[in-house]
Each structure stands twice: as structure tokens, then as C-alpha cells.
Symmetry: C2
Subunit: 152 residues, 2 copies
DNA sequence: CTAAATCATTGACATTCTCAATGATCGGAT
DNA sequence: ATCCGATCATTGAGAATGTCAATGATTTAG
């Protein structure tokens, strides 16, 4: 975020060996994306986290809280807090699990769906900006490789 | 980290639209890498953060603290804490900036160099495991695309 | 039918993030 | 030369996040 990083400038330290570390590259790109996303989501009273939960609640997959925790790499207790907040705003509701009464599935309300639709547009626009340096095929390749590394 | 994610299993929620969001993919891969890295670095009394600082201090580029903050996407105050800790362990030293007396350059001591060498090997091994699902060329492509998205 | 495991939840604690304020120093404009 | 605004490292405070252990309700395995 300094002058060096703003636009097309390669920081001096990018010469270092660490600049090839996947961990650092992921962290940097993610950090940059996070601030942009949170800025864009503020308008809807959401943060990256709550947006992700809302988004999955809108997916039609009827995720349980445990599934949300695993999928979002969060502790189950963090999901409780996030769902509490979304539920209190009437964006989401907890339903009894179909087959297992221990679990609760998280579903979006009509209000939640509407809000998600707008927030989604904003986030996708952020994503487009973040990957502006890549061609469409490059962006697709990046997505494909990340998914492969995660889920193969 | 649940049963679904352990080995080669694609979680049910990966069908959702959100599974294509770059932000989520980055966050997930990074989260997974972080726990592995921190586990491997514990043996050396380092965490991901302090390792990164030590690594840059060993680069020969004589980074200033401001540069470290920008490059690692951290607040300058966090760098102070990290350098304090490394310095108190004798792994790193602060030197007066050559041209600007406001800035301080962070350099590794011989002890720091030695520790970094061992830690580096451990982290590179973690990285290899994390990208095990990718071929060598795919891993190289991933690195290239991440760098391009960041620094173009 | 019992014992172990799993789910959501609560609460405590540590780590990390984000900001504002400070004194020292620098750079540029007069 | 001197003032003025900007930048550097540092400190400190408060919010957000991460991590872990314990709980009651329920399911699954034996």
C-alpha cells in the first residue's frame, strides 16, 4: 500500500528470494483484496466474513454451520457469531437439520437474498479490479490452479 | 480441516458460486499453509511473521522497517514488535539508515543467518507438500500469475 | 443399551489488525 | 537559513480474529 505498491511499481524487496514463496504471495494478494472487499461491503453493513456466510446461505445448498466452518476455514464458534448477527438483522434463519437434529442449516431470507445480490455485484467488481493485470484466460487459470491445489 | 478437506475430498459446498471467488480461494489456501508453516517453524521458535522478517533481513537487500511493512502487508507498528523480538534473541540488528537517519535497516546476525537456513528448508518442504497436487509447471504458473497480479 | 463421537454454543484468552499520536528527521519552498 | 508539511520508527488503545476447552443435546457404533 505504499507508493511502491500502488500502481505497476515492483517494490525493491520483490527481488528477494521470499518473493517466490507461495505463502507470501497468497497473503499479499489476499490482504490487498480484503481491504478492497471490506470497503465495498461496508455500504451494505457487511464484512468479508458475513458476506461469505450470507453467500453460502443463498447457494441453495442448505449448509450446516459445521460445513460453513470447514469451508470458510473458521472455528465453529466464529460461525455462531456471524450467523447470530445475520439472523438478528433478518437476513438469514437457522433451520433444524433434516436428518440430524444436532445440526442447524443456515438459509437466507428474501431480504438476505436481495442484499446478497447487490453485495455480490460489488464484490465481483472488486475481484475484476484486483485481477486487472491478468488476461481473462490467465484469471481462469489462476482460479483453476488454486482449486486444484485445494481440492485434489 | 474436517473429514471432507483432509485428503482429496471435494467438500459439498465447493459447488457453490462462492467457490469461484478468488478471495475465498486465496484465503483457504493461505489458511491451510499457515498452520503447516507455523507448525514447522515452532521448532525454531519462529512464526510465519518473524520468519518472513528474518528472511528479508538475510536477503542482502538491507530492508528498512517501512519497506518490510509495505512488503509484508503489515502495519509499521507490527514490524517494530517483530524486530524487537528477533533483536532480543540476537538474530537480527537494527542499523542506522545510510542516507536517512529516520529509518532503520534490519540486518541478520550470523546466528540469524544460521537459523534462517534451517527454517528455510523446513518452509520450502511445507510449500512442496501444499502444492503436491500441482505439477512443477503448474506450480510455476501459479507463482507467475500471483506475481503478475500483484506487481504489474 | 451403553459409550464414544459430533453438533452448536458459550466463554476465556492470545494474537493480530487498525488507528491515532509522538518525537526525530527530511525535503521543499520561500 | 528557516519554516512547513511529509515521512520514519515507536507507543499505546481498542476492535477484530484466532484458538481452545467445556457444555448439553443428539447421533452412531459396539
Amino acid at each position: 500500500m505504499s507508493a511502491e505498491d500502488i500502481e505497476g511499481g515492483v517494490p525493491r524487496l520483490a527481488q528477494a528470494a521470499i518473493a517466490g514463496d507461495i505463502g507470501l504471495l497468497l497473503a499479499k494478494l489476499r490482504a490487498a483484496g480484503s481491504v478492497v472487499n471490506n470497503k465495498a461491503l461496508a455500504e451494505f453493513g457487511l464484512r468479508e466474513r458475513s458476506y461469505s456466510v450470507l453467500r453460502l446461505a443463498c447457494s441453495g445448498l442448505e449448509p450446516t454451520q459445521r460445513e460453513l466452518a470447514d469451508f470458510l476455514s473458521l472455528d465453529p464458534s466464529q460461525i455462531v457469531t456471524l450467523v447470530d448477527e445475520l439472523e438478528s438483522r433478518g437476513l438469514v434463519s437457522r433451520e433444524q437439520g433434516r436428518t440430524d437434529r444436532r445440526q442447524k442449516t443456515v438459509l437466507a431470507t428474501p431480504d438476505g437474498e436481495r442484499l446478497h445480490e447487490k453485495a455480490e455485484a460489488a464484490v465481483l467488481e472488486c475481484e475484476r479490479e484486483q485481477l486487472a493485470a491478468l488476461t481473462d484466460t490467465e484469471a481462469a487459470t489462476l482460479r483453476k490452479l488454486l482449486r486444484k491445489a485445494l481440492w485434489t
